[in-house]
């Protein structure tokens, strides 16, 4: 009855059962072929997160994919840590979706590339020339498997509150603001003026992680290079880090974390005067701060254009109808529907043919009638092509965490940098990268 006696009993039991169990589970290593979530239904299922696919197009495909008789595809929205959820369901080998949106960086899915069908086997090559070359290239794993299909791109811009800039006596028109914020250093100076002169002393940004992220995305190199070497301690990362820390030092950050009630309240309440983020945040901004409509403007980002996110769609090996699924992809992500997705969801097309369409040039009253593509179009063209390894998230997570520590807990930035580098190296070493 004494616990310590039972522990040894259980250890014994555990050791003997463990062997048997592994033999048992080893046999189940390959899928049973019946793990699709849509098994037994008349439709295929695609996993996505809110905002990653057009709701209208999904509603259409749920009734029947146009041009593909008898094919229906329904969307299943997934909340929370999307990548973890998708990999968990693959580990469960049950209820795996036939298709799944894949978030950027796609490299994180490469270790599990065999879970996805090679889209080239389904005839992807035939449409390659319709898509942005760099985007297409990023879909292919180092072993040559094309696991994702281009969904959208994430050209970035400086979102700013024209009214607050005006009140602070700063330039107000996009071209002038771009001039006044052409470098990160000049941007921070603008932030100081805003804080001093605009009503309510607004902050330049919501959190310093955005400065770090955007400055880093202006570099083609990230944390791990193509030879799987850690390069996160080099100048391109350190510079972005220093800029973020400088923003904090000058008190220009509202220090509110994304998705918290405080963030919503600060953005809606005019305490954040600008954001540096991707085109797909347009809908998020409209949802979060509906009452600020008309006050925002867009211009090119300090320090040059970048690309943040932009997603992919993959077909899993559990898919009940790979040909049908690929036909759906060609329909959903063809130039015509990418254009619709841009209009509805601000998903920036990865099909250059869409860029010249008049519909792309529709003014947006939320931005005072400005035409967003005037800013995002050039950014998409000029953004550096970034190399993301399969270990990017492993390496950069500690850095983002340490930036939060600096900003919210007041941790010494130098110590935070050292801790971040140590944690990055340790996390990578654990996965066999150095």
């Amino acid at each position: 009855m004494a616990p310590h006696r039972t522990i040894s009993r259980r250890r014994l039991l555990g050791a003997s059962l463990g062997g048997a169990g592994s033999a048992l589970l080893g046999l189940s290593g390959c899928g049973t072929g019946s793990g699709s979530i849509s098994a037994g239904t008349d439709h295929l299922t695609i996993w996505y997160w809110n905002g990653s696919l057009s709701d209208k197009l999904l509603a259409t495909s749920a009734r029947g994919v146009p041009g593909v008789p008898g094919l229906k595809v329904k969307g299943a929205p997934i909340a929370g840590d999307y990548r973890g959820r998708l990999r968990t369901v693959m580990a469960a080998r049950a209820y795996v979706p036939d298709l799944a949106c894949l978030n950027s960086p796609i490299g994180d899915y490469f270790p599990d590339e065999n879970e996805f069908l090679d889209l080239r086997d389904l005839g992807a090559d035939a449409v390659e020339n319709e898509y942005l070359a760099w985007k297409w290239k990023s879909c292919v794993s180092p072993s040559g498997r094309m696991i994702g299909f281009p969904l959208d791109a994430g050209p970035t811009a400086l979102y700013y509150r024209r009214d607050l800039f005006e009140a602070a006596g700063l330039p107000t028109e996009p071209a002038d603001v771009a001039e006044a914020t052409s470098t990160w250093e000049k941007y921070l100076d603008v932030g100081k003026t805003l804080k001093a002169k605009a009503p309510g002393h607004p902050y330049l940004i919501s959190q310093i992680a955005y400065v770090f992220r955007m400055a880093l995305y202006q570099s083609p190199k990230q944390f791990v290079d193509a030879d799987n070497h850690f390069i996160g301690d080099q100048e391109h990362v350190k510079r972005a880090w220093d800029l973020a820390v400088e923003t904090y030092r000058q008190g220009l950050s509202a220090r509110v974390l994304d998705g918290t009630p405080d963030f919503n309240s600060a953005l809606g309440g005019g305490r954040i005067a600008s954001m540096n983020t991707a085109v797909w945040y347009i809908n998020g901004l409209k949802d979060t701060a509906p009452k600020t409509a008309g006050k925002w403007r867009l211009t090119s980002m300090p320090g040059g254009p970048g690309n943040y996110g932009g997603s992919y769609v993959g077909i899993t090996r559990y898919c009940r109808d790979p040909e049908g699924a690929f036909a759906f992809l060609k329909w959903l992500l063809g130039p015509a529907n990418q254009l619709k997705s841009y209009q509805e969801m601000a998903l920036f097309p990865t099909t250059p043919a869409a860029y010249d369409q008049p519909a792309m040039r529709r003014p947006d009253p939320f931005f005072g009638g400005q035409i967003p593509v005037d800013v995002f179009g050039p950014a998409a063209e000029k953004a550096p092509v970034i190399f993301f390894s399969a270990y990017e998230n492993t390496a950069n997570t500690p850095v983002y965490q340490e930036l939060t520590n600096v900003e919210t807990l007041g941790k010494n930035p130098d110590k935070a940098w050292r801790d971040a580098m140590d944690a990055s190296r340790t996390a990578l070493a654990q996965r066999g990268v150095s």
Binding site: G21, T88, G259, T408, A423, T426
Partner: protein, 332 residues
């Protein structure tokens, strides 16, 4: 245990002696074994087997999807060198301490107050017990907005001219916020347990003490506290087991699309079970998660032994500890 002895002798007497032949005996006891077997079968499959299997897993590098790779003791090596793991362990104990001590003291006070009430006693109890009945996910969402920077808690401070507190943005704030949620949820529960203990103290004990000229203080420390000791121990054991498994509050409080935010700023709200969940089901490091489970198992076993000693030391060796109430810890 007295009742057991009684029934066993009674059963022996009613059955004829010849039934003790091995085969007849088995048949006679078959219904009993059948009756208790469901638990042991379920435990074997869903309890013992996973524990054993996790030992095997802890020597593998596996994301649950691809092939397992044998890595020997590497997972344990990394775990011992993982500062987040140690931080989580420390956080768990800090939150446990921050919540348990005030909770038990408050519960004790509340029990005394409730004990003096003869009217509406059922209504009082229901009112104080309700926090324990509600879903922690829902209430964490509520508390999350109360503790926001511009939330109700800071608005109250602001109204009286005080500075706001970084409830969700400072080490102490995060731990306090989680502890407050736990206290809110468990004070009433523990108070009712203490109250039951108080009510079970025979009136004669008080009268005898009074006759001996004891004052209120002596009554409290000489009569009430010793009598309540087993009940208090029970509450300590329960809250220890629960405290080591804190998960829902920090998980929901800092849940976002980005797994890097788990545990909040500085990962000050990262508890062991939250870290185990994050490593296992966000990062899909199954081997690592299994190894963590085993280290955790060692910690809990240590606590179980300490608890056991405490209970045994109370002079009630015939009592196998009182496990009531642990079940509510499932949801934490």
């Amino acid at each position: 245990m007295a009742a057991v002895a009684q029934t066993s002798s009674a059963a022996d007497v009613t059955e004829p002696v010849r039934a003790r032949a091995p085969r007849g005996r088995l048949r006679r006891h078959l219904p009993s074994y059948a009756a208790i077997s469901p638990y042991y079968l379920l435990f074997a499959v869903f309890g013992a087997f996973p524990v054993g299997f996790s030992l095997y897993l802890s020597f593998q590098d596996w994301d649950g999807i691809g092939d397992m790779k044998f890595v020997g003791f590497r997972q344990y090596y990394w775990l011992l060198h993982d500062s987040v793991f140690w931080h989580a362990l420390l956080n768990t104990f800090e939150i446990w301490f921050l919540s348990t001590v005030p909770m038990l003291l408050l519960a004790l006070v509340l029990a005394f107050l409730l004990h003096s009430q003869t009217r509406f006693s059922a209504a009082w109890r229901v009112a104080y017990f309700i926090p324990n009945v509600t879903s922690m996910v829902a209430m964490t969402i509520v508390f999350g907005s109360v503790f926001a920077q511009a939330g109700l808690a800071n608005s109250l401070f602001k109204a009286v001219g005080a500075d706001g507190v970084g409830w969700l943005t400072s080490a102490l704030g995060i731990k306090s916020a989680i502890a407050i949620m736990i206290i809110w949820r468990w004070v009433g529960y523990n108070a009712l347990i203490f109250l039951a203990g108080l009510q079970a103290i025979p009136t004669e004990l008080f009268e005898a003490a009074r006759v001996d000229g004891a004052n209120s203080r002596q009554l409290l420390f000489r009569v009430v506290v010793p009598q309540l000791r087993p009940v208090i121990l029970f509450a300590v054991i329960t809250s220890t087991i629960n405290g080591l498994q804190i998960f829902t509050e920090p998980q929901v409080l800092f849940y976002s699309d980005d797994p890097g935010t788990a545990g909040g700023p500085g990962q000050e709200g990262m508890t062991i079970v939250l870290y185990l969940w994050q490593k296992s089901f966000n990062d899909l490091q199954f081997g690592y998660g299994a190894a963590m489970g085993w280290l955790l198992f060692a910690v809990i076993a240590l606590f179980a032994i300490i608890n056991w000693r405490l209970v045994s030391g109370s002079g009630r060796d015939d009592r196998p500890g009182i496990p009531l109430g642990k079940e509510t810890g499932r949801g934490r």
